[in-house]
């Protein structure tokens, strides 16, 4: 049982501050959808509007096609997992999980049985009578998920639930969350500022900045085909070059910068003057000889061995620092500092994008 969610031109104002600005998105039933953005971008406000704790100033939110205006949080088919989890410390684990059932008047034996079922689902069998304070961070996480699942929501809303966990556990819980979502088929809406989380777990990602939804796409497109400079630089690293379009044809353009002319893809929304060239470090190559096109002579200024890749900082003749990443396939050579080399990149992997996030709309 899952429901889709439509945000129809939703705005939310706090006094004079517009926290959410004309957001439109249709989330499919059973989808794992992430809102990704820096803190203060309005993503938590969106979540609070869907769950009913905050009312939109404009626009309509529909869950399963049903207008949610005037519906209290306790009347909506959503379950929210709070950033700090908000487990009830004075109740044992099973009562925490069964709280939603207690509210619905389910009798005690059934509540207990259901709580134990859900504990098994989240791999916490046998913890029913423990208190919240006896559990580790990851276990609390699972209790929070089980508590939300107990009310059989059509939509699960998750507000950065992994941010308090350490790295290893976080990666483990990512897989776990994804598995639980697949198993239950519930629509998941996930809020995060961690691009890795959003890309790894989601069916689709909506990148937000300053209250606006910048781009909605699957993780691959978000990373490979960002629509603007904000999305490109918030998700992953970039070499950013300022300049002007000299000529363009068939979606490709020649971009003149102070370190040379480059040909690159023209982004869909690349209009106006405020354009920049974005090239990801892992899409560049360093070689002793210049490439056929899009090649810059550089001097290696810094090398950092990161394990799976080698990060190289190189200076152009005009002093601009560019970054390249060399994949460590076991035979990769580490360039020497001070070596004169050529940095080359593929035109199809470089994009001309509007600079600022707000340039849109």
């Amino acid at each position: 049982m899952s429901a889709g969610i439509d945000l129809d031109d939703v705005c939310c104002d706090f006094g004079n501050f517009r926290a959410v600005d004309h957001v439109n998105v249709n989330i499919q039933p059973g989808e794992f959808f992430s809102f990704l953005g820096p803190s203060g971008c309005g993503k938590t406000t969106i979540l609070r509007m869907i769950s009913g704790f905050t009312d939109p100033s404009e626009g309509v939110i529909r869950i399963g096609g049903k207008d949610m205006r005037g519906q209290r949080p306790n009347q909506r088919p959503t379950a929210l997992i709070f950033q700090n989890l908000a487990l009830f410390p004075l109740m044992p684990i099973w009562e925490n999980i069964a709280f939603g059932l207690e509210v619905r008047g389910v009798d005690k034996a059934k509540r207990r049985a259901r709580a134990e079922e859900l504990l098994d689902l989240v791999d916490l069998g046998g913890a029913a009578d423990k208190m919240v304070s006896q559990l580790s961070g990851g276990q609390k996480q699972r209790v929070a998920i089980a508590r939300a699942l107990a009310v059989e929501p059509s939509v699960m809303l998750l507000d950065e639930p992994l941010s308090a966990l350490d790295l290893k556990l976080r990666q483990h819980m990512r897989a776990e969350l994804r598995a639980i979502q697949k198993r239950t088929g519930v629509t998941f809406i996930y809020i995060t500022h961690d691009q890795g989380e959003a890309l790894a777990m989601s069916d689709r990602v909506g990148v937000m900045s300053q209250g606006r939804l910048q781009q909605v796409a699957n993780p691959r497109d978000i990373y490979n085909n960002p629509v603007n400079g904000f999305v490109a630089s918030f998700v992953g690293e970039n070499n950013i070059l300022t300049g002007k379009i000299e000529q363009s044809a068939g979606g490709m353009a020649t971009f003149a910068t102070d370190i040379g002319r480059f040909s690159a893809k023209l982004g869909d929304e690349a209009r106006g003057d405020d354009l920049k060239l974005y090239v990801r470090p892992e899409h560049t190559a360093l070689s002793a000889v210049p490439g056929a096109e899009n090649s810059v002579p550089v001097t290696v200024s810094e090398v950092a061995f990161e394990g799976s890749f080698i990060s190289v900082q190189a200076k152009t003749q005009s002093g601009k620092i560019l970054t390249a990443e060399i994949r460590n396939d076991g035979s990769a050579t580490v360039p020497a500092i001070g070596a004169a080399m050529h940095m080359t990149f593929d035109a199809a992997r470089a994009a001309i994008l509007p600079d600022s996030a707000t340039a849109r709309g």
Binding site: N74, L80, L90, F99
Partner: protein, 307 residues
């Protein structure tokens, strides 16, 4: 201690310690010990003090059992000593006052800690404190005026047509109850405010999100969390009410009597300090027992209250 010595030197530290010790010993411990000791001795003419009749006994404490008075308790007539009856009435009405203050203070404390905007808090707290700028005597007296037969309350209710004729408000223990609740309500508000404020608002929202109606949120989340605050507020209001002399004296009716008034009558009107102190210690000990019993019944630990 060493900190104190380093900061203020030998002389000043000595003065501090002497003053505190003097206050504790001479003004608190010794007077109490004297009263405690004299509570076991009979009330004698001056010439007999220290004589053969001046022996220790429980006689003063036993006086509470004198003067039986037939009293109807839940329809059953019991022969109850008059002072025991006053004591029980005092405990009962203090408990009622505690309950009423709780019922008034809880919504207020919840509003202050979870609903009111932080900006308006200073103003709201000021409004709560303003009445405290006036002495307790005047406030109790003000109530006496308000509730009087020809007082403003009756005049107002007559004027708007709620009443046909004035009501005698100060009857039985009504006046005392109103006075006690009004005087001690803040002692309930602040512990409750502190307790509720420390509750993570997300927990309230989580319960709401899981479908709980407001009353269940209070019953299952807010009240259990606020229990230490409720306990300390209740102990304070109860003990202050039981020990209050001013309010029951000023707002008494012809048929109300508070146990502290009985003690006062022994001490001042009969000039029998021995029996007066015996009654005072009895009140102290029995109230402590009663509070301990209540804490045991509601499973409150002493450490919860100290928080």
């Amino acid at each position: 201690m060493q900190d104190l010595l380093r900061r203020y030197g030998m002389m000043l530290t000595g003065v501090f310690i002497f003053l505190v010790a003097f206050w504790l010993l001479m003004l608190v411990i010794l007077p109490n010990l004297t009263l405690f000791e004299s509570s076991f001795r009979p009330y004698l003419p001056v010439v007999d003090i220290g004589g053969p009749k001046d022996t220790y006994s429980m006689g003063n404490y036993m006086k509470v059992l004198n003067n039986s008075d037939p009293t109807s308790v839940l329809g059953i007539v019991v022969n109850m000593p008059i002072h025991v009856k006053i004591f029980l009435i005092t405990i009962w009405y203090s408990a009622v006052a505690t309950l009423v203050t709780f019922l008034l203070a809880y919504p207020l404390a919840y509003y202050l800690s979870k609903i009111a905007s932080p900006k308006s808090l200073p103003t709201l707290f000021l409004l709560l404190f303003v009445p405290l700028w006036v002495s307790e005597v005047l406030r109790a007296f003000a109530w006496w005026i308000i509730l009087a037969l020809k007082g403003p309350l009756n005049a107002f209710l007559l004027a708007i047509g709620v009443l046909d004729q004035p009501v005698r408000w100060i009857q039985g223990y009504n006046g005392v109850m109103i006075g006690l609740v009004y005087t001690y309500v803040l002692f309930m508000v602040f512990p409750l405010y502190n307790a509720i404020q420390s509750l993570d608002t997300n927990q309230i929202e989580a319960a709401d999100d899981l479908g709980a109606p407001w009353w269940r949120i209070h019953l299952r989340i807010v009240l259990p969390h606020a229990k230490p605050g409720i306990a300390s507020g209740s102990v304070m209001v109860f003990m202050l009410s039981v020990g209050s002399l001013l309010v029951p004296s000023l707002l008494q009716s012809t048929n109300s009597q508070w146990f502290t008034q009985t003690i006062q009558q022994w001490m001042l009107e009969s000039q029998d300090w021995n029996t007066g102190s015996a009654y005072a210690f009895m009140l102290l000990i029995l109230c402590t027992l009663f509070v301990s019993l209540m804490m045991w019944v509601f499973r409150v630990k002493l450490s919860d209250i100290a928080k």
